[in-house]
Symmetry: C2
Subunit: 507 residues, 2 copies
C-alpha cells in the first residue's frame, strides 16, 4: 500500500497496530469504554456480532447433547476456597460483594452498610458454584453424563484492559460436564475443543491451532487445558477458546459423587470449556484492514446496504421505490444457512459518506442505485474484500444469485487469506540465535512487530519456558495435537526434546 | 375434583397454594434454591422456557425498531446517587462491591483486600449506567429516537424470596429509549406496554389488564409507570411487566441533552420497560394444575413425547424403529410459526412412570406406541389439557395434522380458561362492608384465599390507598386504560371519585 493513499482508519496497521485496533472499533461503532473500571459498553453493532456467535455456537452445543441452564452470579468465599489452585488463580483479581445496603452518611451522601456475614465473589468462572449444584444432581451413573452450558457475564478485576480482548466484565459461555469415567471426560474435553475449532473456521473464518497448554499456562485447578490459538495480523497469538479436563479435582472439592455400576460411590470426572466476547477481538484483528472492520459474512449483523443516489425529489422517489422493491426481494435470500439482512441507507449524506460509513462497519456488500442504473436495469455493486473504489455493474435480475455467491466467496476468501498469512509467518527454528533474532522487534517503531509463530523444540522444563518468557516475552502457546514425535534439541537449553511446540508473543 | 383422587402434586392447590407452587417447580425440575442468599439455579427445563420467552420478545422488540446492546453490571455509587427518588427506591436492598482481592488471612483462610476508592452497586436496574452512555451518544435531534434493549442479570437484595417470583438475582430485559418530545416518549411507553400485553396473550396464554400505577406504586424516578397485571389461580394479582415514562428526570440527572431543530440545547425525554424471569412464575401459577406444570405450547421447550411400550427385546426393536421414524417425521412440523420439538423417552421405566414424568413437566402431547398399535397403524395420544388417563387412538397418517391442531387448540384453550377464571373472579363493588368482606379470607386454612379482583371507586388519595393496604393487604394494582370516567364514591372514604381502579392482593 502506498504511503500517501488515504485510509479510513488512522493510524494504519503498520504505523501503530494497537491504536489501529481501537480506531477500528470506534469507526465501526462496536463498543466503548465506560466509567466503570475496565468495563466496556458493547454497542448494537458489536453486540449483534456476539448474538450471531451465540446463535451458531448454541446450535452446535445442542447438537452435541448439551442443555443451557443458569447459576448464581455470586460465589460464597467458602466455595471459592475449596480448590486450592483454583482460588490462587483468581483471588488476586476479583470483585467482592461485602455489603447489602446504602445509608445516609449524614453529609448528604450515602455510605455502605449491611455487612454480609460471608463475602461473595462475583463469578470469575463458575466451576465451584456449578459444582455445588452438580453434587445435588448426580447420585447414580444413570445421571451421567451431565452436559450443561451457561451463557453469562463474568468479572475478573484485570489491571490492563483493552476492548473485547481483556475487560473486567465480559460475556461468555461456560460448558460444565460430569462423566462416569476419565476416558469419557477426556473425550468430551477434546470434542468441545473441536467444536470451537470448527466454529472458528466456519463462522469466524479463523484458522486455529488446536493443542495442549503447558503446565504453567493451564487453567487453575485443571489437570489439562486444551486451547485453540489464532494468529493476528501483527503476528501475535490470541488464545481464542479453552477446554479443560478437570480430572476429579473439582468433583472432590464440590463432592460430586455417584453410585457406580458396581454399587460403589465414586468421584465423578468433570470438564469445563469456554469462549467469550474476546472472539470479537480476534475477528477484528484477524480480518480488518486500514479502512476498518472486515466481517466474515456468516457472522455479520447485516450483509447488504442499498445506497440510493439522486439529485432531486423526483429522482429520489423513483430511486427509493426501486430500492425498497430490491430490499423486499432480498428478504428471501440466504447463503450457507444464514439469512441475509439488508440495510437501506437513505440518510441525507453524500454517497461517498454513506459508502465509507458502511465500509468502516464492514458490511460485506454495497449496492448503489441511481436513475441511470434503473434505466439500464443494473446496479453498481462493491464488495468489502475489494478496494473501496472497485465497483461492478450487475444486472438487477442477477442480484439474487450474485449476492449469496459473493458472500460465500468472501467467507471462504477471508479464511484462506488468514491461513496463508499464518503459514507465511510460521517457521521451524532449530537454532537458538536464530530463535532470538526471530522474536527481536525490527526497528520499525512498533516494538511488538516480530517474526510470527516459531515451531521449535522444547525439553519440557518450566525453567526453559520461563527463561524465554523473560528474555523475549514469548510463551509456549500450545503443544499442537498435530505435532508428531521427532527427536530434537530444546531451543533454550539444548537438551533432548521429543516434539516441537508453538512459541509466540501473545495477547 | 374428588378429595381422594390421586394427584402428582402434593399438596394440591386448594390445600396449600404456596407449597403447591414450589412442588410444581420441583416436579417439573425447573429451578432450585442455591446456597447463595436468595439466588436460584434455573435448571434446563426452566431455562429453555426463558429462552423461548427471549426469542419471541426479541423479535417483537426488533420489529418495533429496537437494537440490543450491553452495559456494565456495576454502577458507581456516584451515578446511583444522582436521581434522588431512584436511589431511595433501591438503596436499601442492593449488592455492593467494595474490594477487589482476596489475601491469606494468616489463619489458613482468605480475607478481603484491595478496597476500591468508590464502591460499585451491582445493577438493580440500569437507568443511571445506561444514561451515562446515552449522554455521550446523543447530541442532536438527528440521533433520536434512540431505541435500545438489554438482556441481563439483575440483583436486588430482597429479603423474602420465592423461585422465579422474587429472587435476589434474576434475569430480565430492560428497554431504554430517548426521544425528542414528551409525546413521543409517552407513545413509546404505551407501545411497549402493548407489546408486553400482546406477548402475554399470544405466547403465555395470559390475559392481562393494562393500566397505570398509582403514585405510591410507580417506579422510583418515573413520572408515570404503566403495567400489565394478571390473575393467578389463587386470585391474587401478579405484576407481569412494567413500562415507565421517565419524563426528563433521568435525562437531567445523566445529562442527556440534544440540539433541537431550532438549535437550542434541550433535555431529552426517556423511557424504560422490562419483563423478567418472573414471567415463568406467572406462567406456572396461571395454568398449572394438581398434576404439575401446564405449558402453553408456544412457549414449551418441547411439545411431544413418544413413549415406546414393549415386553421383550424383539418388541423393543420393532417399537423403537417405528418411534424413531415418527420422531423423524415430526421434525418437519410446526404450528403458528413455532417449530415442534419431540422427545423419545425410551428409559427403562414403566409406561406409567414415563407418562407421569412428562405430565409433571407439562409436555403438551404424549404418544404411546406398542406392538398392537403398530399392527393397527394407530397410536394412543394424550393431551396435557385433558385428564391423565384420557387417551385417544389416532391413525398414524393423521398425526402430522393432529399434533399442530391439538397444540393450537391447547394454546387457545388455556387463554380462554384463564380469561374466564379472571372474569368469574372480578366484581364491581360499591359498598365498603362488601369490599372488606370480599377480601377477608374464608375460613379455609389458606389465609390468602379471598374473592379476587375488585373493580371499585377510589378518590385518588394516598391515605385511602394506604388504609386499605393496612387493613386488608390489598393494593391498587392499576388504573386500567379501559376504565372510563364514571361518577362514584371512594370505596374507602366515600368522597367523590371519577373512575374505578383494580384492587387486589398481589405477589
Amino acid at each position: 500500500m502506498s504511503k500517501n493513499k488515504q485510509t479510513a482508519i488512522v493510524p494504519i496497521r503498520e504505523q501503530n497496530y494497537a491504536e489501529w485496533y481501537q480506531q477500528v472499533i470506534k469507526a465501526a461503532d462496536m463498543a466503548e469504554n465506560s466509567d466503570v473500571r475496565g468495563c466496556m459498553v458493547i454497542k448494537p453493532w458489536g453486540y449483534a456480532i456476539w448474538e450471531n456467535i451465540q446463535r451458531a455456537l448454541d446450535i452446535m452445543f445442542r447438537e452435541t447433547g448439551h442443555r443451557n441452564a443458569y447459576f448464581p452470579i455470586f460465589i460464597p468465599k467458602s466455595y471459592f476456597e475449596k480448590e486450592a489452585e483454583h482460588v490462587e488463580g483468581f483471588a488476586k483479581e476479583c470483585a467482592i460483594v461485602t455489603h447489602s445496603r446504602l445509608e445516609p452518611d449524614g453529609a448528604g451522601g450515602l455510605k455502605v452498610a449491611g455487612e454480609l456475614t460471608e463475602p461473595y465473589i462475583v463469578r470469575p468462572t463458575s466451576e465451584t458454584i456449578i459444582g455445588a449444584s452438580f453434587a445435588k444432581w448426580v447420585s447414580s451413573y444413570r445421571d451421567l453424563p451431565l452436559l450443561i452450558n451457561q451463557w453469562a457475564n463474568i468479572v475478573r478485576w484485570e489491571m490492563r484492559t483493552r476492548l473485547f480482548l481483556r475487560t473486567a466484565e465480559f460475556l461468555w459461555q461456560e460448558g460444565h460436564t460430569v462423566h462416569e469415567t476419565e476416558a469419557e471426560a477426556m473425550e468430551e474435553t477434546r470434542k468441545m475443543l473441536g467444536v470451537y475449532a470448527t466454529f472458528a473456521k466456519e463462522f469466524l473464518a479463523l484458522p486455529v491451532i488446536q493443542g495442549e497448554k503447558t503446565e504453567s499456562e493451564k487453567f487453575p485447578g485443571a489437570v489439562t487445558t486444551f486451547c485453540i490459538e489464532a494468529m493476528m495480523q501483527d503476528k501475535k497469538a490470541l488464545q481464542s477458546g479453552t477446554s479443560h479436563f478437570l480430572g476429579q479435582n473439582f468433583a472432590k472439592s464440590s463432592g460430586i459423587r455417584y453410585q457406580s455400576r458396581s454399587g460403589e460411590f465414586e468421584y465423578a470426572w468433570t470438564t469445563s470449556w469456554g469462549v467469550s466476547t474476546r472472539l470479537i477481538g480476534a475477528l477484528i484483528m484477524a480480518h480488518s484492514d486500514d479502512n476498518g472492520l472486515v466481517l466474515p459474512p456468516k457472522i455479520a449483523p447485516s450483509h447488504v446496504v442499498i445506497i440510493p443516489i439522486y439529485r432531486n425529489e423526483e429522482e429520489h422517489e423513483q430511486v427509493i421505490t426501486f430500492a425498497k422493491e430490491l430490499e423486499k426481494q432480498f428478504k428471501q435470500l440466504s447463503f450457507e444457512g444464514v439469512k441475509i439482512y439488508t440495510e437501506l441507507d437513505d440518510r441525507d449524506l453524500t454517497s461517498s459518506e454513506r459508502n465509507w460509513y458502511w465500509i468502516k462497519k464492514g458490511i460485506p456488500v454495497r449496492i448503489e442505485i441511481g436513475p441511470r442504473d434503473i434505466a439500464q436495469n443494473t446496479v453498481m455493486v462493491a464488495r468489502r474484500d475489494q478496494e473501496p473504489r472497485d465497483k461492478e455493474a450487475v444486472a438487477v435480475e442477477n442480484l439474487v444469485s450474485f449476492i449469496p455467491t459473493a458472500l460465500s466467496a468472501m467467507q471462504e476468501g477471508y479464511y484462506q487469506r488468514a491461513l496463508a498469512f499464518r503459514e507465511e509467518n510460521t517457521v521451524e527454528i532449530d537454532d537458538k540465535d536464530q530463535f532470538y533474532k526471530y522474536f527481536t522487534p525490527k526497528n520499525s517503531g512498533q516494538p511488538e512487530i516480530h517474526g510470527g509463530f516459531a515451531n521449535a523444540h522444547w525439553c519440557g522444563s518450566e525453567v526453559c519456558e520461563e527463561q524465554i518468557k523473560t528474555d523475549l516475552k514469548v510463551s509456549i502457546r500450545c503443544i499442537p495435537f498435530e505435532s508428531k514425535e521427532e527427536a530434537g534439541k530444546c531451543i533454550c537449553c539444548g537438551k533432548e526434546s521429543r516434539r516441537r511446540v508453538i512459541f509466540a508473543k501473545s495477547y
